[in-house]
Symmetry: C2
Subunit: 497 residues, 2 copies
């Protein structure tokens, strides 16, 4: 039976991706510098072996034959998703992928080198080259998938999501935020005038911060029997669903820096830990996509971790774990002023939840023009400056480092990824609204540190669903309506209005 052969083959592939994931974690967390060269060889070699096995023609034959076999409904869905993965994996020629990968690696390396000085002119040729490859890729994928070129790129990250559905939602959000951000800043200024914000003055010992992070991870549902927390330069959530490796890094003068990062990554970790184990070797058993993954990290970071109800429970725990003397006299209101700070800035990754979508919408708009050929790489700085000025009142003129050179995505050739961040924020708010409608007392439980209803709903409606539905279908099935901006808008109005 072809289905059984496929199942066997996917088990073998899972072994290779297990090795890739874990070697990636080890590289970031443990590896001494001198191990890097051989490790890079090993990673590249494993990727080659994986790609050869995953894209083998017999896989296509098995998929076609299995579709005609007597299968259970779950198996049909598995075949459908696996076919989608196979087409996405095989629709580009290996010659093209080879050349594109080389261009991406060179561009990303150059970016790392030139970003600190913001040398746009030096970087431009490499970026133009990467964009040319992305256009070619989009055209080839579009042809196979029968999609518009930019939609074909989004499809790699969020299966089923389309510009036609995202744009109206982003437009509504943009219009709202243009008016709301100044209002939120005024409201914040008024609060600060009445209640001046405190500054952290203590030194927060790293071992205490780590213990605090672990307590908070446990509190929001992380299973330490199947995961752990370590340190790396760039925090991430990696590993495999049965062994989730999270990392953070610590700032001794500001414990919220690590804690908020830990909560964010824990959201990713909970999703992974909640995936259906029996399907772990099939595409259908993987997390749905980047937007849904980000909805889980943002759910934990923003809907739980920046919720005053959570801090009602968390503040005494924080004081106990960090030492009461480090936060003498800090009230819940003092802490929330830190947790809810709004400040428009140049850098996306440093942005608060109110201004963050503007950074994403800017990139989403520019990406579409770049892929469609309506804009060239050389035009980016001017367009970037214009949009930053219009959306956040900040000019990036002659500031490439904090402008179009700030992110790794475009230099590394990832176009179609950015929307996922804000889709994730919208989905997190939409999920939270659904849960609070179903369970009006969820925040009362959260005040006691009890996340049961929040996690049970997500386990049933998001985590265990894995990739059985497209992103839009998953949203409707879980929340009863398609992607909408209104829940996020209501959320920030309530929290920052």
């Amino acid at each position: 039976m072809s289905y059984a052969k496929l199942d066997q083959h996917l088990k073998k592939l899972e072994v290779l991706s297990h090795a890739q994931s874990m070697l990636g974690v080890d590289e970031a967390v443990m590896m001494p510098e001198g191990g890097g060269e051989k490790r890079a060889e090993a990673m590249a070699g494993l990727a080659t072996i994986y790609h050869e096995m995953a894209s083998a023609p017999q896989v296509g034959d098995w998929l076609a034959a299995a579709a005609a076999e007597d299968l259970m409904p779950e198996q049909r869905i598995a075949i459908r998703e696996q076919t989608r993965s196979y087409i996405n994996l095989t629709c580009l020629s290996s010659a093209f992928v080879g050349k594109q990968t080389e261009a991406r690696i060179r561009s990303e390396q150059l970016w790392r080198q030139l970003r600190p000085t913001g040398d746009w002119a030096g970087f431009l040729p490499a970026l133009s080259n990467v964009i040319a490859f992305a256009r070619e890729e989009a055209a080839m994928r579009a042809d196979v998938l029968k999609l518009a070129p930019y939609d074909a790129l989004i499809e790699q990250f969020d299966p089923g999501s389309r510009v036609s559905q995202i744009t109206p939602v982003f437009d509504e959000l943009k219009t709202f935020l243009k008016g709301f951000i100044p209002k939120a800043l005024d409201a914040q200024a008024a609060r600060h005038a009445k209640h001046p914000p405190k500054a952290f003055t203590a030194r927060f010992a790293i071992d205490r911060q780590k213990a605090l992070g672990e307590v908070m991870m446990k509190a929001v549902g992380f299973d330490f029997y199947h995961g752990r927390l370590d340190v790396s330069h760039h925090p991430f959530c990696g590993g495999v669903p049965t062994d989730v490796r999270m990392t953070t890094r610590y700032d001794e003068s500001d414990f919220l820096f690590a804690l908020m990062g830990v909560l964010h990554e824990t959201g990713h970790g909970l999703y992974e830990q909640g995936l259906p184990k029996a399907w772990s070797h099939w595409s259908v058993g993987q997390a749905r996509g980047m937007a849904v993954h980000e909805s889980q990290s943002l759910f934990v970071e923003k809907q739980i971790g920046r919720n005053p109800a959570f801090w009602h429970w968390a503040l005494p725990v924080v004081k106990e774990k960090l030492g009461a003397e480090t936060l003498t006299g800090w009230s819940l209101a003092d802490m929330m002023q830190h947790v809810h700070r709004v400040k428009p800035g140049f850098i996306r990754v440093d942005a608060d939840e109110v201004t963050y979508p503007m950074h994403v919408i800017l990139r989403y708009e520019l990406e579409q023009d770049l892929i469609a050929g309506r804009m060239e790489a050389r035009d980016i700085p001017e367009a970037w400056d214009a949009k930053m000025t219009a959306y956040l009142g900040l000019s990036t003129k002659d500031n490439m480092k904090d402008g179009p050179m700030q992110d790794v995505h475009w230099p590394s050739g990832a176009f179609g990824y950015f929307p996922s961040y804000t889709l994730g924020a919208l989905l997190a708010a939409q999920q939270a609204a659904t849960i609070h409608k179903l369970h009006p007392h969820a925040d009362e439980a959260l005040k006691k540190g009890d996340v049961t209803v929040l996690n049970d709903w997500r386990r049933t409606n998001i985590w265990s669903k894995a990739s059985t539905l497209t992103t839009p279908d998953l949203i409707v099935a879980a929340t009863g309506e398609p992607l909408s901006a209104r829940h996020f808008i209501a959320h920030v109005q309530q929290r920052y209005g």
Copy 2:
């Protein structure tokens, strides 16, 4: 060219063994318990993929064809060693290996379960089964390799070593030790009477022990750019030559427990770090075998780490790193009484360097009888007790836990391995004797913590030679004579007489 194809193929295999090594390290050092099941699947899966690729018939064709190609002398040696590996890998049928592996795993699991209570009767059927498989394996290997059955097993661990050469040396050593051990104990008693031994009373903090271990590793030549030290339940030296992962475990009441283990594993690590990098994917670029590997760990542990000249330099460093207050009043003589303690005991892994060979010779003698069919598993306890009584004056009657059930080797099916430990001790002494003859002032340098001549000689004569010579040829090339007991005998006479 077949040679080039082989080189390519071995590069691919190196990628898989890199993954296997590193996942093994991660499992012991980092993995949360719940990750174990999937990890076991991944390890088994990688082993299968590796075995399929390494034993593919075309590899045999390439080896045969390459032997007829126009090769450099180094390449000829590489082909010879690779052929040896290929024959060893392919001379058992996969059906046999599958059944044997299953029997070994079940026996080892049962042993772990029954060892604490010393339930020999419960364990016996599993051990008998493993022995039956070992006999069959030995016969099959003997047939292909044209060796005696037990020699064919030794060949897996120490290529070129034969019973005909080991036995006379072990016999000489056994005769010597029978007379020497009581003498050494008397001498020790006399020393203790004159200078009563001190006991450790301080608590040695783990972070300080770790810092001490790292300083000592550096002092004996370990390259931290290509390696690191961590903690695991069973100390080991793993990873790959460019990224050597060492582990230890700490006893807060006795810093020597971890320190001596760290020095031992560092010896293994130096060998790995000193292998020729350009040949890392070929068999010829691997460490020669277990005896030579053990000679390097024992060289660092015993010839350096228990040498009074080393402690002349090390004691002040130890006091500085652990805190002078933890060893107030401890003189070099006090410390050497600990470092040179002789005490016959039941357990091989706890034995001192004087009594250790007796444990090995006992096992070596019994193994030969077991593989030859002159003895059955049920006869082991009586024979074990008789030899322990004869060699060390200790009876293991009705004490299976501290007798024949103490080691993992036989339960896991490793026959032919034990001699390597004592061969390593003899070779370490033989190498040290050669170096001290060439460089009579080596100990003067060691008194200043300078291991340059000791490491330079080993780098040139052992590490960089990798597997270019068989074990016996390597010994002659390095020390000018075949394996001999006399240097070890002189060493223990000088140190313990």
